[in-house]
Structure formats: structure tokens, C-alpha cells
Symmetry: none
Subunit: 194 residues, 4 copies
């Protein structure tokens, strides 16, 4: 029990742990409360209802996730390097927090459509980051100027997401981070032989 941590964070962290260990549907509020070291009722002083825990969890964790990616990108020059940094940080963060990876890639997807719509809103910020990289690349003259930003975005996110999900489902038996260069190359150059 970390009583220094404010209860809000304490409960969110407990939720991540409980959901990762027990799965979404077996994660009762009472289990989360126990893990957080608070009474069941205390949960409801900080969250409107159970769904609100999940939304807050996603907002909190994904907020940090995207923020770190944004910070990392600033350190790099050129759309090409920035894209590689994005992929690297995307993988690095999920590889470093297995519980979070399980929760975001597998468990939280079992939530209902309404929750998933809210989750998508959190992800919009990530899409903006991607859009900027694409725009930069076009401006730099290294990306084709006729790219459809939405499609590129969906390709990049879809690719990374599918790769991480497979990695999680295969119990994270290989190193995600090792694949950054290959994926970067795939996205930049496609399948074509030059």
C-alpha cells in the first residue's frame, strides 16, 4: 500500500494490476479496492462508477504514453527519424509495462462500444502527432505529396497496434524493441524492391 500516492492514482494503478491479472470481466470493484488498499465505497469518492475507472485509467496512462512520445520526437530531426522515434517509444513503453500492455491491447477492448468511443477520443492526440510527422515529411520532400493523411495514420497505428497485440498474445516471448528498424523500413519503403 502506498499511502503517499494520492488515492486517485492508487486506484488506477490497482485497476491496471487487477485487470492484467484477472482479465476484464473478472475484475470486480471489490477486487480493485482491495488491491488499492481502500474500502469499496472509497472508489466512488474518486470515480463516478466502474466505467469511469476504466476511462480515467486510459486517459491517465495513454496521456502519459502519448506525452512521452511527443517529448521523444522533439529530440529528433526529420520526419524519417521522428517516425522511427515514435515507433520506438510506442514499443518501448508497452514493453516496459507488461501489465499496461495487457490491459490496453487485450482487456480494455472488451469494453462496450460507448467506452471504446471515449477511448478513441483520447487517441486523437496521438493521431495529431502522426499527422504532423506526415506533413513534415511531405514538406521536407521525403514523403510523397499525394499521401492521404488519414490512411497513413490508420496504416501506421493499425500496424503498430497489431504487432503489439500479437506480441502480448504470444506472452511477450520476443523483444518488441528489436523490430523497430524493420517496421520503420516497411512503412517508409513498403514491400517493393528498390
Amino acid at each position: 500500500m502506498n499511502n503517499n500516492k494520492p488515492k486517485f492514482k492508487q486506484i488506477i494503478d490497482a485497476a491496471v494490476k487487477v485487470i492484467a491479472q484477472n482479465g476484464y470481466h473478472a475484475s470486480q470493484v471489490s477486487k480493485i479496492a482491495k488491491q488499492a488498499g481502500v474500502a469499496d465505497g472509497t472508489i466512488y469518492l474518486y470515480f463516478k462508477n466502474k466505467e469511469d475507472i476504466l476511462i480515467s485509467l486510459f486517459q491517465d496512462k495513454m496521456g502519459q504514453f502519448i506525452e512521452k512520445i511527443e517529448e521523444e520526437i522533439l529530440k529528433h530531426q526529420g520526419a524519417d527519424e521522428k517516425l522511427k522515434a515514435l515507433i520506438g517509444m510506442h514499443f518501448k513503453q508497452l514493453a516496459e509495462d507488461h501489465d499496461l500492455a495487457i490491459v490496453t491491447q487485450l482487456e480494455l477492448r472488451q469494453s462496450n462500444k460507448e467506452l471504446r468511443i471515449k477511448i478513441n477520443e483520447v487517441l486523437k492526440r496521438y493521431l495529431i502527432v502522426m499527422d504532423q510527422i506526415i506533413k513534415d515529411g511531405v514538406d521536407e520532400g521525403i514523403f510523397r505529396s499525394d499521401l492521404n493523411p488519414r490512411l497513413v495514420r490508420q496504416m501506421v497505428f493499425g500496424t503498430l497496434d497489431e504487432i503489439v497485440t500479437n506480441w502480448v498474445m504470444k506472452d511477450q516471448k520476443y523483444e518488441l524493441i528489436n523490430q523497430v528498424d524493420e517496421i520503420h523500413t516497411l512503412i517508409i519503403n513498403g514491400l517493393k524492391k528498390v
Copy 2:
């Protein structure tokens, strides 16, 4: 389970309709039974349990889905054309059956991890199709020979899946099929300016 029986199909089609209309969590067995025009108990003469309906649904519909893609690919020559055919049929089939698109892209994902593992097994056949195209492309000398088939597969599937999911969530307001060429180009050529 007797797959020849018309009731089997009848129940699966009812399930697709009910889930598409009501969402995964509001699709009780009794609702599916009613839509299928049978008694609740009858369901259990054809399916082991509720999960079995969903697995069977996925096997049945995705089986046909992949089959049609396989057939279409046979009509085309060269990995490049085959890939375009794959993308086209992937989109075409989901665009033609909105209920199925909703069920596979949104609703069925709310199922638990175990069910999704089984779903992944059904998809293996799709992955084999993709692998063959990749291998063909390499053999033809049009794809790079150092491609990692798993990663390519995940890129292609992740991309298509993300695009379709977004299309479904945006209430299918634009034409999926119009985007085939762009996506094909993206996958083949990447983002890079030539």
C-alpha cells in the same frame, strides 16, 4: 453438431442480426432464439454454449470471407495484383454486409481473451494467404528478399483492419472500396518519395 441442419445456419444468421442490432452485451441467447424462430433450449441442441455460437459464427462467416478472397486471388497474376485483389475483396465483402462488418469489427471484439484466441485460429488461414503472396512477390523479385513475413502480415492485416474499423465506427459514411488503390500503393511503396 450437425452442420447440415438448416437450424444451425438459421441460428448463426440470427446471431449476426441480433448482435449487429443490439450490440454484443444486449444479445441474450433468448433474443437470438426468438430471431431464429426456435425455442431457447433448441439452441443447445446445435451449440455447446453461447460462446460456441460466436465461434461458429466467426468460423462460418470468416471461412466464407477468406474463401472468397482465395478465389479472387486465383484470378490474378503477380503478387502485386494479388495483393490488390486481396485488399479489394476484404473491403468489398465487409462493405456489402454491414451487419457482418459491425459484428466482426466491433461487437465480437468485446468477447473475452479465450474466444479471441479461437478467433485468431480461424484467421490463420488468412495469414497463410498473405504469406503466399509475400513469398510470391519475393520470388518474382518485386518484393525485397529480406522481408520478415510475420511483420508484413501484421502490417497488412493491421492496416486493413484499422481502416475497416474506423469506417464502421464512422457509420460507414464513405466508400471503403474507393481506397483500395491508395492503400495498395502505401503498402507496396511506403511513404517515401521516389
Copy 3:
């Protein structure tokens, strides 16, 4: 357990017994189910929710209650005799079913405003019976012609109800039925010395 009785009646009778014994707020659905000899879920095949049990209980029991009063009145001639018959049957029925008396006089009044509004609707039929007696009395020339039917009704019902409630709260230690004549005289003649 009376398996001949249809479940609907069975559950209502169980509810009366459980509420009379345990009080309104300690009468959980599970307790009623147990007393009725059915599973908790079975309750919901016959009633929409817990409140619906109570409404149905009141409709069923009060329906019979009023019906018996109506029947008894038919056997008597003249508004004066009819009124006495009404008072007599009102008291007789509640005196004969102590559980029901406790439930209708004490426990059911703890229900919320909405339920009480529905209860009042059931009682409307009783009010019609009273109105008819009043009208008869006026027509016969034995009651004053300037009586306000609503007020008379409220006086009669308020009086009987208050008397029965006191009797129930005093654990029914005296005979309700013995007081019929006195009350009848009070209502007909008032307090005044002739």
C-alpha cells in the same frame, strides 16, 4: 409449499406473510422467494420488479376486499343498512386476516409516493361504492341532500382506516367487529345529542 396454486398467487401470499412477519424494509426478494418455495429468478417471470409484487399484492387483495364488500352490500336494503354492512365487512375481513391487516395498514404505507399513488387508484373502486351509498341515502331522503360526497367519503374512509390502524398497532387486542354499531351511529348521527 402449495404447488397447486399458480405461482403468481403463491408469490403474493408469500409476500404478505414475509412482510407481515419481517416488516416492509426487511422483506427481501430472496426471502419472499424462499417462502413461496421458488427460486429468486422465478419471481421475475411473474413480476416486473419488486415494486410490481407490492402493487399486484395490493390489487389482488384489495380487489377481493372491495368485491366482498360490494357483494355484502347487495344483500342489504337502504343506505343506512348498506353503510353498516360496509363497515362490518371492512372490519371483518381485516380482523380475519391479521397478516393482511398488518401489511395494508402499516407496512405498505412505507412504500414511496409513486407506489402509494398506484395504491390509491385501486381504492377508487371503494370510493365509488361509498359514493353510491351516499347517493342512495340522499335519494331515500334519510341523508341530508347538501352532503359533499367527497368529504363524506373521506370522513368514512379516514375514520375506518384510523380505527383499524390503531387496532393493528395495539396488537389487535380488542375485537374490531364489536365496534361496528357505535361507529355506524357516529357517522350517521354525529356527536350531537338528539
Copy 4:
């Protein structure tokens, strides 16, 4: 918030307002505390528990209610006039304080049997007032000497109570006070034509 008023009264008045506005079951201690402008815990410095608030509320308000009736009766001569004064003041006070009328006629009745027994004790003083009027009337020779005081009391109280409750439930759409004479006549003379 009136900080001059001692907290005890302040809390009781808050309770009346909150219960009248929200209904008995939606009147949580925290809501009453907020309305009273004190902390939740402060309530428990002045009241043993929630039930104690309600009992105190009833004692306080009904104490005043009965007191005013007693005072008014003193101004009148003869049992007949005194009874009319009692009815008048009973109606007048409730008509003048709608919140109190809602609370005493509708909301407080939803309390449990134990609370209502204590409420009845408060009302005993009212019954004594009625008993005295009845006795006076008999002594004056204007009421029948064979009246059963308990029954008369229950008739009078039951009648007034039923009339006020109906008036409150019908959203107080008509003037209660206008009916004093009719009711007085009903109680004194009964239904009979002279």
C-alpha cells in the same frame, strides 16, 4: 444560512425543506447537512442518528402545531365552537406551511413502524385535547353521553388526516380552509337528515 439560529433548529428546518423537496428516501443525511450549512459529522453532535432527526422534527413541529390549536381553543366557548376552532387551526397551519404538510402527510409515513410508534406518542397530546372537547360537549349536554371517546377521537383525527392527505396528494389545488364548516357539521350531525 442563519448562523444565529441554534444549529438544532437549523438542522430540523433543513430536514423539512430537503424532505419536502426530495422525498423521504432521497433525503440523505449529507443533503440535510448541506442544506443546513454544516458538515455531515456535525449532525451527530446534535442528533443521535438519522431517525432522531425525524423524531425531533416531528416533536418540534407537531409540538407547535398542537400548541397553537390549544391556544386557539382557549379563545372559544363551548365544545361545538372549540371543535370548529380545532378543525380550523388544523387545516390553517398545514395550509400555511406546504413543506410541513408534505412532510407530515406523505413523506414521514414512509418511515418504519418504530418511528411511527414514537410519532404516535407525540400525537397523544393532540388526543388529550380532543378528549377534553368531547368531555366538555357531554358535560354541556350537547353531545351524547354514551360516546366512546377513543372512537370519536379516531373518527375526528382520521377524518381530518384523510382530508389533508388527499389535499396534499392533489397538489393542494383547492382551499382546505373553506371546508371547515362542512366537516364540522358532518362530525356534529352525521349524515342524517334532521
